[in-house]
Symmetry: C2
Subunit: 301 residues, 2 copies
């Protein structure tokens, strides 16, 4: 079974890791790059890194970013030099950004350097950036106007949103388009639809390609609350409804064939599975991944 | 007394540190940037860093480069990613290169970012790069032809030299020229003349400006051997004579007013001081600096 997953950061990465184990590494992951940024002159791809690190088993699960046990010697020295220190980069993590930045500077495409980094980390799944071109997501805030994504999320700690601005005319990675076309099942992880999944869906041709495949999504909203991040506050602002699994499904607007939700969060409109949808321990990831694949196999028939 | 020192890396930096203490911080240092390089996409200025770190008391004196007690987490991760690992950059040291690289990329001149880094490190002397423009020294080798300086010295471990190629038409830093013109005494540290001092002398106007000032040099050759590095092997190849303090003085060709040598290395042609010219302990730096300044005061009369 050819499975393609769409992922943002932490929640999506955890499900992807479970899917990778359930499928013995035979998985393609298309990762949001809308929250990529430059920091200290380095090319940072937070969601790609979280997916790679989580798949490699080296990510810091508690923190949700960076590498487990990393040190911050360079970071503290940067702070002493008066450089911006609001975005934390560990010493070992720096090697990823340095390698990527140097590769991009000499013309290597993002997917190629991502493949090299993934292979060096021992990742067996195929990790693809959604595009080789920059596709920065801007967040329109009530207080500060338009902000680059990381400035919104990390520097300003997710102030009130009144819109999300996605770039137009950015080409999807051809290999990502082809992977979707060849997929027996597409899984949308429990990521933030507005800023993690819609940047992928907004790339020309992607939504159309997905509409021809069975798509199983996992709700990032559990009991009216977000598992992580500012999603619950964004739903009323951006969709005009209270936060709920149903609001997520409605946001995907006909694209989803079946939906996995927390028990008690049953929804209407598509086949669904109500289960324990929060991945706390590593074994939750594999269990949830298998439930997602089973549901996918049912909707394919 | 306005004192200007010309310096390469380790030996020059040690004397500069002694001079800085002897002069209560009232010292301008003009530093060779001919061995600057790009590594992992970062702008590295080895001699500037050695001078700054030595003046700040944070350099690794035993190794001669980098910061004392630094860690190499990023370096080992770069090696694991298959990136070149022949040039070692510590984690804390990386902050210097990241800050400089980002500054240069946004158009800040090298002297400005050097001043910022120096101030943050607590350096009281004025540390100037010899130029704000790239001025790469190339080493012409018997075996490999022309090599960028660090590839010659570090990657290939200083193979046999048949020439040194300095760029032409690179402007000296105006502040460096002005400092020389205002100097009561110029000190040339015990650095390699061919690859550390001559890149400074080769900048248009510098040799001429120096010829109008009293110049005291310290021999980097002691008893026919180099205190550090490949200098002793270079003298026969590039000057056609055996390595000696006299060979260094002759190389400076009339520019030096007085010369400080090791006892037993007495030279002819200019006033000289024979002393313990090797700076092993920190107190040697201050003692030698005072001897240099005393000799300088005598040649000024």
């Amino acid at each position: 079974m050819n499975v393609v997953a769409l992922s943002g950061g932490v929640g999506g990465a955890r499900l992807v890791e479970g899917l990778c184990r359930a499928l013995d590494g035979k998985l393609t992951v298309i990762v949001n790059t809308g929250d990529d940024c430059r920091h200290w002159g380095l090319a940072i791809c937070p969601d790609l890194d979280t997916v790679m690190y989580t798949l490699a088993g080296v990510g810091d699960a508690a923190r949700g970013w960076g590498l487990r046990g990393d040190t911050f010697t360079a970071h503290e020295a940067m702070r002493a030099f008066g450089e911006p220190a609001w975005f934390s980069l560990g010493d070992r993590d720096l090697a990823t950004h340095l390698t990527r930045t140097a590769a991009l500077a000499r013309g290597e495409p993002l997917d190629a350097v991502t493949a090299r980094l993934s292979a060096a980390l021992g990742v067996t799944a195929r990790v693809l950036p959604m595009s080789n071109e920059p596709a920065p997501t801007l967040v329109d805030t009530t207080e500060h106007g338009l902000l680059p994504f990381q400035e919104w999320l990390v520097l300003r700690r997710a102030p009130e949103v009144r819109g999300v601005v996605l770039p137009s005319g950015v080409a999807a990675l051809p290999a990502a388009r082809q992977a979707i076309d060849a997929a027996d099942l597409v899984v949308i992880g429990p990521s933030n639809p507005y800023v993690s999944i819609e940047p992928i869906l907004a790339l020309p041709g992607v939504r159309d390609a997905l509409s021809r495949r069975p798509v199983v999504a996992v709700s990032p909203i559990v009991g009216g609350a977000a598992v992580k991040g500012p999603l619950a506050e964004m739903i009323p602002r951006l969709s005009g409804v209270a936060p709920s699994a149903q609001a997520i499904l409605d946001r995907y607007d006909g694209l989803v064939s079946a939906f996995v939700v927390e028990r008690g969060d049953e929804i209407r409109g598509v086949p669904s599975l109500a289960t324990d949808a929060v991945m706390r321990a590593p074994e939750d990831r594999l269990r949830l991944a298998r439930e997602v694949l089973d549901l996918g196999a049912r909707v394919r028939r």
